[in-house]
């Protein structure tokens, strides 16, 4: 922007926002037009990229699901294997998410309120699932809990089947969704500081009471946000579960695995319907994330 001309250009934002309505010079008009054009250009570029990468797939799922009418979709939704896959996904999430939540809060407390050497290492371990491919997660679980794995003999002796069964799938899901609650809770714990907790302790509260009555309410939105992220990740897990599941129809197929199964068996409507259900769950999660983001950390857009 040119600095010539009578337009006042101050360096404090409010002044700029309510720009003085002085007659603009030609140079300023051109500059403003150029700025608008740039803005429009950037917006188009960004939105175009997003439309191509995100918008089109969303539209596609809806289109392909209902391509052949409503009746096939209804059949697909009510197919016994589909219903079972849905409930199995829910079951796996219902077990792994609470476990990860307890673990996440516990770890956050340990790292933020505890005193010991090796915090960095512990942090790295918790973050490890981010760096591992889901396939590798599945492989490493088989190496420990499979028939020929480290614990294989002990598990067999006690009649416990982990791999190729639901517990294995819960395990795989828990691993890939492990870090989120911890990640989201730690900054909040850091921010709120220890004052309130120390005050509670001097007033005679036990450790549990302090946690339950003071700490937990203060971190609850971080925890909830972490739970939402964990749930989203757990619902959508495919690669790790694929390896440990055994592909038993009606027993060890979660909804994502069911999508692949339907696709491989020429059942396009079945596959897309299941995909649509998952997409709707994903959109629901996004909604939850959006609402919570605004509540906890201010808006993400200006």
């Amino acid at each position: 922007m040119s600095s010539s001309g009578p337009g006042v250009v101050s360096i404090s934002p409010p002044a700029i926002r309510s720009a003085p309505r002085l007659p603009a010079s030609d140079a300023q008009r051109t500059a403003r037009r150029a700025a608008r054009a740039r803005k429009l250009g950037l917006r188009t570029l960004a939105l175009g990229y997003l439309a191509l990468l995100l918008g089109a797939p969303l539209v596609m799922i809806f289109y392909r699901t209902f391509e052949h009418g409503l009746a096939p979709v209804w059949n697909a939704v009510t197919a016994p294997n589909a219903v079972h896959a849905f409930w199995l996904s829910i079951e796996v999430v219902a077990i792994s998410v609470p476990l990860n939540t307890i673990f996440g809060i516990g770890m956050a407390l340990l790292l933020e309120r505890g005193r010991f050497w090796g915090k960095g290492l512990l942090g790295l371990l918790i973050d490890l699932p981010f760096a591992i491919s889901p396939v590798v997660v599945g492989l490493s679980l088989v190496l420990v809990y499979g028939k020929t794995g480290w614990l294989g003999d002990w598990l067999a002796e006690n009649g416990i089947q982990v791999i190729f069964s639901v517990p294995g799938m819960v395990l795989a899901t828990a691993v890939v969704s492990l870090p989120f609650v911890a990640r989201e809770t730690i900054p909040v714990l850091r921010e709120i500081g220890t004052d309130a907790e120390q005050a509670a302790e001097t007033l005679g509260a036990s450790a549990w009471q302090t946690f339950w009555r003071v700490t937990l309410p203060a971190i609850r939105w971080g925890v909830v946000y972490g739970v939402v992220l964990t749930t989203a990740r757990a619902l959508g897990e495919f690669g790790a579960v694929s390896i440990v599941s055994g592909r038993i129809e009606g027993q060890t197929q979660t909804l994502p695995l069911y999508v692949q199964d339907r696709f491989e068996n020429f059942d396009s409507t079945g596959a897309y319907t299941a995909a649509l259900v998952l997409a709707l769950l994903a959109l629901g999660t996004l909604l939850a994330m959006n609402l919570l983001t605004r509540r906890t950390r201010g808006r993400m857009e200006a």
Binding site: E91, L99, Q161, I163, F164, V166, P167, W212, T252
Partner: protein, 327 residues
């Protein structure tokens, strides 16, 4: 009070977890069927038919399908199975070695086999590349699709069909191996199972798909735009089934699979029968140069010679593919 409630709530996941452990086991008479990738639609008819017989009353099934080798290894690694149906004998033999299937599993009238089929060429509708025989597969403008021989049973049948056909045409073993190498250079996809390779082919990849006759028939029935032809020289695909353990229902189911009623169902799904006198079996053309795996040495020899992970002929061919700079 609140503490106790909290503790109860936190115990919920553990309770659910234990319930999950329990429910994944079987209650009542349930048979776990673990099979290779293609016979799923056949079992959709076979299982209800079995359940209406005396031996099958009250028996429920769980089913799992995938690449034959993959499934066989899964069972050997602990996946629960009561009945297995694989593409080829070695995948059952693996379970015999693991102590899961009895040594005498194939001491019966059909030698353990429950279906027959042949290796066919599947092509685009109208056969635009005019493929008629094995020699066409190594022509420059033809691309071949076949599954990965280390996970898919079907792929092994394809390879041995190709090899055996060369021998039948009078070539020497060395020349037949050379043919295999050339053919592999035309292979453009290697999926994990026969069913997956069909998907790949239908998605537009390749000109010729090598596979089971019954897959071709099934695909056509589903309306896929393909034709298939039975080459003059091809191999007889004999697929076995066996009971795992000694459950009565499992043995009865396996015997049922070779009964006339069941064989009629197999035929309706495009499989060739293993017993004679099954209605509808005349629709299958008999190739002039049909041979079995025994004429190329039997699976025991062939597995070692061709598919041994370090030294097999096919292993070496696959590795040499990495060095080539074509395409």
């Amino acid at each position: 009070m609140r503490t106790r409630r909290t503790v109860l709530v936190l115990c919920l996941p553990i309770v659910l977890g234990l319930a999950a452990c329990g429910s994944s086991g079987s209650s009542g008479k349930q048979l776990a069927l673990v099979a290779y990738s293609t016979p799923k639609s056949a079992y959709e008819a076979l299982i209800p038919a079995f359940q209406s017989t005396a031996g099958g009353k009250g028996v429920s099934f769980s089913q799992s399908y995938g690449g034959s080798g993959e499934q066989s290894r899964a069972v050997a690694n602990g996946q629960h199975a009561d009945v297995v149906n694989f593409s080829l004998e070695p995948d059952v033999e693996r379970l015999v070695k693991a102590g899961l299937v009895s040594q005498s599993w194939n001491q019966n009238a059909t030698h353990g086999f429950v279906t027959n089929s042949v290796v066919v060429f599947m092509v685009r509708k109208g056969n635009p590349k005019h493929v008629t025989g094995w020699a066409d597969l190594v022509k420059p403008n033809v691309q071949v699709v076949t599954p990965n021989p280390f996970t898919s049973g079907g792929a092994r049948w394809n390879i041995m069909a190709a090899y055996g056909a060369q021998l039948k045409e009078g070539k020497s073993p060395a020349q037949a191996e050379e043919y295999l190498k050339q053919m592999f250079h035309k292979v453009v996809s290697q999926d994990s199972s026969a069913r997956n390779s069909l998907q790949t082919f239908l998605a537009g990849r390749g000109d010729v798909l090598l596979g089971y006759e019954n897959e071709a028939i099934a695909a056509q029935k589903k309306g896929s735009a393909i034709d298939y032809l039975v080459p003059k020289d091809t191999i007889l695909i004999q697929s076995p089934a066996a009971a795992v353990g000694s459950s009565n229902s499992a043995t009865q189911f396996v015997s049922y699979l070779v009964s006339p009623a069941a064989q009629a169902i197999w035929v309706s799904k495009g499989y060739r029968p293993v017993i004679s006198g099954v209605p509808g079996s005349s629709k299958f053309p008999t190739p002039a140069g049909l041979f079995t795996i025994d004429s190329v040495g039997g699976w025991k020899t062939v597995s070692k010679q061709f598919f041994e992970p370090e030294t097999g002929i096919v292993t070496k061919i696959e590795q040499s593919l990495g060095v080539s700079t074509s395409k």
